[in-house]
């Protein structure tokens, strides 16, 4: 049901920032894992995937938001999927035109953006209820959060696994790279480690809030 005007949230900086930290699609909501593990064996691939996904997210959600009053509830998922698939096809051709090497490196994962749960999830939960402005800003935030997550893996895996960053060799000839980092197990380990760090932060914050509340009661 498209939201009524009174339910629209005002567009603030928070609308954008939420996607980066509190509602980070990868680290908090655990969505869109497949590309995060698959294309992050180098930083440039991670960045390209992040930008491509952000484009699809913002474009498709904008269209959904514009059409939200005209899409009957029964066909909404089918409609969202058609819209998302259209933009993914466009991005697919765009990347082939820009750089064939990049296209071969990213492989089928460009087309797999269409099944990235974060895009469909956002369309269903947000874009179908909120006006265009809020949708675009929120989409940019989520996309930025996704790209940051990709980069955090891509940078670590490339530096440790190839000794380079964005293709620029960092440590010279004699560096023995930790090859497993650019292989599949490395992806799992690095993502697992990041999730561990995030969880540690959250637990500490939780404990501090609890202690704060206890202190309040005792006063």
């Amino acid at each position: 049901m498209p939201g009524r005007p009174e339910q629209y949230e005002p567009v603030t900086l928070d609308t954008f920032l939420r996607g980066l930290w509190e509602e980070n699609p990868v680290f908090v909501m655990l969505l869109g894992m497949c590309p995060v593990l698959a294309v992050t064996n180098s930083a440039i691939n991670a960045l390209a995937m992040g930008l491509a996904s952000t484009f699809v997210l913002v474009a498709s959600n904008s269209l959904v938001s514009l059409l939200r009053h005209y899409i009957p509830k029964q066909v909404r998922i089918a409609t969202y999927i058609i819209i998302i698939a259209t933009f993914v096809t466009m991005v697919d051709y765009a990347i082939q035109a820009i750089s064939l090497d990049l296209y071969n490196a990213l492989g089928a994962f460009i087309q797999l953006i269409v099944v990235n749960c974060m895009i469909l999830g956002r369309a269903e939960a947000y874009a179908s209820k909120q006006p265009l402005g809020a949708t675009v800003v929120n989409g940019l935030g989520i996309g930025a959060g996704f790209t940051l997550a990709l980069l955090s893996l891509g940078v670590v895996r490339e530096v440790l696994g190839s000794g380079s960053l964005f293709g620029v060799s960092l440590f010279g000839e004699n560096f023995q790279p930790w090859v497993v980092m650019i292989l599949p197990p490395g992806g799992f380990f690095v993502l697992g480690t990041w999730l561990l760090i995030f969880a540690a932060f959250r637990l500490r914050k939780q404990r501090r809030t609890e202690l704060g509340e206890v202190a309040q009661h005792e006063r």
Partner: protein, 227 residues
């Protein structure tokens, strides 16, 4: 979400019309956008692909500056046409317009997945002049040396692949030997520690050459420019 939709009260004609109208509209819009982006990017993509092929081609056929495409069919070697089925063969011509060599793809199962290469064959010296790995998933730092190690690449500057007298194969099969033991021009020095990847290269070159070298030698006239 799909379950609750099915549990709704029976669909009214007005709702059906509305659903069809929306789907129809979205499908039309979608089709338009896709076709548009396809048409706009098509020439650019074709150009990119042409550049990529030529980059590999001119590396494995030293001295080539222009190319013509052929197809290996049941009838022999013919110039490429849109409906001809067969293995692609690329002919490279030098500055003087003469045939410098031909290139074709070969593939075999490597360590992790299939390895695909383009190799260049010089019909006048009856030897392979170079290989370029197009696609592989070998272990970085070990198996991927088949593409990156300059010492391994030297195996292919003049790898002998001479057609035998009966015209149904090679005079000497292309074989892999342990690193450093290469003593004959038809042998390939393996990369120590990457035996399976090296063997895959030797195997695919041998299989392909045994099959196609006699055919190429017999059909040189087709590929030579009319003088």
């Amino acid at each position: 979400m799909i379950q609750e939709a099915a549990a709704q009260s029976p669909v009214s004609p007005a709702l059906t019309r509305s659903m069809l109208r929306t789907l129809g509209l979205v499908a039309t819009l979608s089709g338009l956008l896709v076709v548009l982006s396809y048409r706009i990017t098509l020439p650019i993509i074709e150009e990119n692909k042409r550049l990529a092929i030529e980059r590999a081609l001119f590396k494995v056929i030293p001295g080539a500056i222009s190319r013509q495409d052929f197809v290996i069919t049941d009838r022999g070697i013919e110039p490429t046409q849109s409906d001809l089925q067969g293995t692609a063969l690329y002919a490279g011509y030098g500055q003087d317009g003469r045939l410098k060599g031909v290139a074709l793809e070969a593939a075999a199962a490597g360590y992790q997945d299939v390895i695909r290469i383009l190799y260049g064959y010089d019909p006048y010296c009856q030897c392979i002049r170079g290989i370029e790995v197009l696609k592989m998933a070998e272990t970085p730092g070990i198996g991927d040396k088949i593409a990156k190690d300059p010492v391994f690449q030297e195996n292919f500057t003049a790898l002998e692949a001479r057609a035998n007298a009966t015209g149904d194969g090679l005079e000497r099969a292309i074989v892999l030997v342990k690193q450093g033991e290469k003593s004959e021009p038809w042998q390939i020095d393996a990369i120590s520690g990457a035996t399976i990847s090296s063997k895959a290269i030797a195997r695919m070159l041998n299989d392909s050459a045994q099959r196609y070298v006699p055919l190429i030698q017999n059909n040189l006239a087709v590929m030579e420019p009319a003088s």
